[in-house]
C-alpha cells in the first residue's frame, strides 16, 4: 500500500552480470538509482541502464505484469521485476541492497536474460499445448456449460513468465523433469471439456518417468507464481484425474504410492511406514511385498531397516504391525471414507474461483474469478 506522494529515495541494485562472449566469469555489478519507493525494481534497472550502463541486459515489455517477459530472481526469490516494489525488495534483502539475478534452471544468455526456448518453451511444447478435437466442427464455436470451463480459468491465468520453472526444486536435481509450467498448461487442456484426448494426455504424462509423478511437492512454484496459477495444485488435479478417473498406473510408483497412503490411513488411521515401500513398488495390498519389484526394493532397503532396528529407532513391532487409532475412532474414519468416496463426483472447492466468504457468518454463492485467497510471491504485491 504505497503512497504515491512519497519523495524519491536512493536504492542500490546489485545485478548479476555475465557476457558469455567475453570469456570472463559472471560478476556482481552495483548501481544506486533514485526513484519513489513504490516504483518497481524493473524501473530501477531501466534507470541504471539509461544513466550508468547501457549494456545491462534485461527482458521487459508491458511493465504491468501481463506479458511475462521480466522474470528474474530478486533477493534469491523468483518473480517479475515489474511486479516488485523497490521498498519491499529492499526490506526483504539481506543487507539493504537489492540483489537481482537471472532466473534459475535455464541457461543464461546475457546478464538477466535466460534461454527460455531451451527449457521453458521446450517443456511447454512437450504437452501438445493446443486443443485436440477431431469431431465434426460446429458452424461457429463449441458450446459448453459455463461451469465446465470455470475451473481451468486459474491455469489460464499463466503468463508464461517462467518464475515457477526458475525455482523448481525437482528440476534442480532432475533437469529433465517436465516442470510446473508445462504441467499447468497440460491441465488447461485436460480440464477442457472440448478436448478429446484427456486420457491420452494423462497416459503420456504419467508414463514419462520425468513427467507427472516426478514433482517433489515442495510448493516452490506456488509461491513463485505472480498470477496465483498454483501450478502444483494443477499437478495434483492431473494426478487426481489420472489416478481416480482413468486408473492410469505409472512406472514411478506414483499412483501406487497415493493409493497406498489412502488405504493405510483407512485401515490404520495412522501411517504404517513399513508398508509404504512394498506397497508402492509391489501393489496396494498386504501381498504387495511379494511382488518382485517390491522384493528388490525391500532388499536394497534392508541395510537401512537393520540399522534402524539396531539403533532402536524403530521397534520391530512397529515395523511389522504399525500402529492404529482406537477401534471406535477407526470405525469413524472408515465411515468418513465410505461417505466421501462413494460420491459419483468429487467435490473440489477452489478458493481461487469461489473466493472467501465476505461475512464470516454467511455464505456467498459460487462466482467465478472473484478475488483470490491464494498466496502471493514474496517481495511482490499480491494480485486481487
Amino acid at each position: 500500500m504505497a503512497e504515491t506522494h512519497r519523495p524519491p529515495e536512493k536504492f542500490t541494485l546489485r545485478m548479476r552480470r555475465y557476457d558469455p562472449e567475453s570469456g570472463e566469469a559472471p560478476y556482481w555489478d552495483e548501481h544506486t538509482i533514485e526513484l519513489e519507493p513504490h516504483r518497481s525494481v524493473l524501473e530501477g534497472i531501466l534507470q541504471a541502464k539509461a544513466k550508468f550502463d547501457g549494456s545491462i541486459g534485461i527482458r521487459c515489455s508491458c511493465r504491468a505484469a501481463i506479458c511475462g517477459s521480466c522474470g528474474v530472481r530478486i533477493n534469491g526469490e523468483p518473480g517479475l521485476a515489474c511486479h516488485t516494489h523497490l521498498d519491499r525488495a529492499r526490506a526483504s534483502s539481506k543487507d539493504g541492497v537489492i540483489e537481482v539475478e537471472p532466473m534459475g534452471n535455464m541457461p543464461v544468455i546475457k546478464d538477466m536474460i535466460v534461454d527460455m526456448d531451451a527449457v521453458h518453451w521446450k517443456k511447454v511444447q512437450r504437452v501438445t499445448p493446443w486443443l485436440i478435437n477431431e469431431g465434426p466442427q460446429p458452424e461457429r464455436e463449441h458450446i459448453v456449460p459455463r461451469e465446465s470451463m470455470v475451473d481451468i480459468t486459474q491455469t489460464m491465468a499463466c503468463i508464461q513468465c517462467g518464475a515457477c520453472v526458475s525455482d523448481c526444486l525437482a528440476m534442480e536435481v532432475d533437469p529433465g523433469f517436465i516442470g510446473p509450467a508445462a504441467l499447468a498448461k497440460a491441465y488447461r487442456f485436460v480440464g477442457d471439456p472440448r478436448d478429446e484426448e484427456q486420457r491420452e494426455r494423462l497416459v503420456d504424462l504419467s508414463e514419462d518417468p520425468q513427467g507427472l509423478y516426478d514433482c517433489t511437492h515442495c510448493f516452490k512454484c506456488v509461491d513463485a507464481c505472480p498470477k496465483d496459477v498454483n501450478p502444483m495444485g494443477q499437478i495434483m488435479r492431473l494426478r487426481r484425474i489420472a489416478g481416480a478417473d482413468q486408473h492410469i498406473v505409472d512406472q514411478n510408483n506414483g499412483h501406487r504410492h497415493e493409493e497406498t497412503m489412502v488405504t493405510l490411513i483407512k485401515d490404520y488411521g495412522l501411517l504404517h511406514e513399513a508398508e509404504m515401500i512394498p506397497r508402492s513398488y509391489g501393489g496396494n495390498s498386504w501381498f504387495g511385498k511379494f511382488h518382485p519389484a517390491a522384493g528388490k526394493e525391500l532388499l536394497s532397503s534392508l541395510p537401512v531397516a537393520i540399522r534402524g532396528v539396531m539403533k532402536r529407532k524403530m521397534s520391530i513391532k512397529i515395523a511389522l504391525f504399525g500402529h492404529k487409532i482406537p477401534k471406535q475412532d477407526l470405525n469413524a474414519v472408515k465411515k468418513i471414507y465410505e461417505k466421501v468416496e462413494s460420491k459419483p463426483e468429487r467435490y473440489e472447492l477452489n478458493l481461487y474461483i469461489s473466493g472467501e466468504d465476505e461475512d464470516p457468518n454467511e455464505h456467498v454463492p459460487v462466482s467465478a474469478g472473484s478475488g483470490a485467497a491464494m498466496p502471493s510471491a514474496p517481495g511482490a504485491e499480491g494480485t486481487t
Binding site: 536435481v173 510448493f219 495434483m236 487426481r240 481416480a244 501411517l271 537401512v304 539403533k311 472467501e356
Partner: protein
C-alpha cells in the same frame, strides 16, 4: 499453557525419539500436552492429491477433537508436514461456510463439529510466539556455545507464505535462526535451508529424492555446520535415516547429524543427550555432543 497436542504419525512410528524428546521438554516450558489419541493422520498432502474433500474431512475431524479439549489454548503439532497439510485443509474450511457445513454434516455422524478459526501452531511457532525467545533464553541451562547449527525448515512450513501467515510481523521462515541464537548457538546459513529434503518422491524417483537430501546436507557441510535442526520428522527420515544412501548418490561423505527441534531445545534446557533419544539417530551426533562429559560443543 495447555495445548491440544497432535503428535503426528511418524513421531510415534519411525522417529520415536521425537515423541520422547517432546514429552521431556514440555514440562520444562510449562506446556501441558493433552495428546489427541483419537485423531487420525493429516494425509501429508497425499490424501488431498487423491480426494480433496476426504482430506478436508479427515482433518476437520482432528480439528474438532482438538476443540473439544477443555482449557486448551490451541492445537500444537510437531511436524512441518502436518502444519502445511492441515493448514491447506483449514484454509478451505474456514473460507467457505457452505463447504464447512457440508463437511460438518459428515462429522455429525460421530457427533463432532468443527468451528471455524482453530489456532494450529507448530512447536517452533509456539516457542517464538507463545512462550517468547526472551523467556526461552532465561530457561537455558546449557547454552549451545560454539555449536554451529544449520536450520532445515521443511517445505510445508515455509510455503506458501500467505497461507502460513508468514509476514513482517511473523517472520516464521526465520524462526529457527532466531531460536538457535536464543539458545546460545551460532546460525549457519546455507543454500539448502528452505529447500526440499526429497521425502515426497522417495518411492517415485529415489535418486532425485536422495540427491536433494545429499546436496542440502553437503551445502551445510561446506558452510561448516556441526549439525542440522529440523521441525519435521519426514525431513528427518530423508536426511538422517537415508543419509548413508544419500552419501552414495552424491558421492561424498557427509556425517552430518540432524536433530529434531525438541532435542535441540532439550539440550539447551539441560537434558541429557541419551534421554533425548540422540543415540537412536542413524548419524550419531558425536560431533556435537561430548559423550564423556555430556557437554554440548563442537569437537576440536
Amino acid at each position: 499453557m495447555k495445548v491440544a497436542y497432535w503428535p503426528g504419525c511418524v513421531s510415534r512410528g519411525f522417529t520415536p525419539e521425537l515423541h520422547g524428546s517432546m514429552a521431556k521438554v514440555a514440562p520444562l516450558l510449562d506446556i501441558e500436552l493433552v495428546q489427541l489419541d483419537r485423531a487420525n493422520c493429516c494425509g501429508a498432502g497425499v490424501i488431498a492429491e487423491h480426494n480433496q474433500e476426504l482430506a478436508d474431512t479427515l482433518n476437520a475431524r482432528t480439528f474438532a477433537l482438538a476443540q473439544q479439549v477443555e482449557g486448551a489454548e490451541l492445537m500444537m503439532n510437531i511436524c512441518s508436514t502436518c502444519q502445511g497439510a492441515q493448514g491447506e485443509c483449514q484454509e478451505r474450511l474456514d473460507a467457505n461456510a457452505e463447504y464447512r457445513a457440508h463437511v460438518n454434516s459428515t462429522l455429525a455422524d460421530e457427533g463432532l463439529t468443527y468451528e471455524k478459526g482453530l489456532t494450529n501452531k507448530n512447536f517452533l511457532w509456539l516457542l517464538v510466539e507463545e512462550i517468547g525467545l526472551e523467556k526461552l533464553t532465561s530457561l537455558v541451562k546449557r547454552p549451545l556455545t560454539n555449536l554451529k547449527v544449520g536450520p532445515f525448515y521443511g517445505c510445508y512450513i515455509v510455503r506458501p507464505r500467505a497461507r502460513l501467515g508468514i509476514d513482517e510481523e511473523h517472520p516464521r521462515d526465520h524462526y529457527l535462526e532466531q531460536l538457535i541464537e536464543a539458545l546460545g548457538g551460532t546460525v549457519i546459513e546455507y543454500a539448502g535451508m528452505r529447500k526440499c529434503c526429497g521425502f515426497p518422491i522417495i518411492t517415485m524417483n529415489k535418486e532425485a529424492s536422495l540427491k536433494q537430501a545429499g546436496r542440502h546436507l553437503g551445502d551445510a557441510l561446506d558452510a561448516e555446520a556441526d549439525c542440522l535442526v529440523t521441525p519435521c520428522p519426514l525431513c528427518h527420515l530423508n536426511l538422517d535415516m537415508q543419509q548413508p544412501l544419500a552419501e552414495k548418490v552424491v558421492g561424498r561423505e557427509l556425517n552430518m547429524p540432524v536433530l529434531h527441534l525438541p532435542q535441540l531445545v532439550g539440550l539447551a534446557l539441560g537434558l541429557e543427550p541419551k534421554e533425548l533419544g540422540l543415540s537412536r539417530h542413524v548419524v550419531r551426533p558425536t560431533s556435537v555432543i561430548d559423550w564423556s562429559t555430556s557437554v554440548v560443543g563442537a569437537a576440536a
